[in-house]
Symmetry: C2
Subunit: 149 residues, 2 copies
């Protein structure tokens, strides 16, 4: 059973809150979809994804801001949530992206700082990273089923 809706279904809200890696799909200028598996954080409205401006997905969203984010239940691959939306803002503020990266690191690994053991997070983020703010437009939830055809 597939359901399309404009508000996040409560039954699948955990897939935006728990430390589940998500697949982000973007589209290049020649119409080729690209996907990557990334961390994300959700604040009840906006989905935040940190990226390096050198990545393909960053170059893609500069010409086409439409994205699709997929979160699959690690315990049940037949339960998943797709969020179609738009990159509304690209935050290139160093402090904000550093804070976001630390928050995601905390969520996914329990550590306080992104790669903090290796080098100061501030230096990493300052050098390259930005935060994509994705505004959801439509949610597609798929529940438990034998196949997802």
């Amino acid at each position: 059973m597939t359901n399309h809706m404009t508000t996040l279904p409560v039954t699948h809200q955990d897939l935006l809150e728990q430390p589940v890696v998500v697949t982000i799909a973007t589209v290049s200028e020649d119409g080729q979809p690209y996907t990557a598996v990334v961390w994300r954080r959700w604040d009840g409205g906006i989905i935040r994804i940190v990226t390096d401006p050198k990545t393909r997905k960053y170059r893609n969203i500069k010409t086409n801001a439409k994205v699709s984010v997929t979160a699959v239940d690690p315990q049940n691959p037949y339960r998943y949530l797709v969020v179609n939306g738009i990159v509304e803002t690209i935050v290139d503020d160093v402090q904000q992206t550093t804070a976001e990266l630390d928050a995601q690191t905390k969520l996914y690994t329990g550590k306080e700082h992104y790669f903090g053991d290796i080098e100061p997070a501030e230096n990493r983020a300052k050098a390259t990273y930005v935060t994509l703010l994705i505004k959801p437009a439509r949610y597609i939830k798929v529940g438990s089923m034998t196949s997802s055809i």
Copy 2:
């Protein structure tokens, strides 16, 4: 570390062979990427995905045959494979799609027939389904890492 290549990396071949659900990304006419989580089978060259022609992904590939298929290691979400390619053929032969669906059912569930307990697979497939034959063009492998930014 990300690697782009035109041949399937042996280190990630298991992600096309094992019963791992994959995310397929397609693009609609207005440039919106769409994703869905599906079964697939790989024969050493072509990736086969069975779908219902009523789905969004089917409608999308009728106007843009470019797709991206992502397989994430269920044991390690930081190891994954992306296959960018093109839907080269749409098989609408009932027998072929029934056989494909049964083969995928066997792979993913161990059962002999797709939803065989409920109704004959022949009737299901005849009614609606087709098989997408995806020819890979480029592989992107991502290995074990702390984050996949």
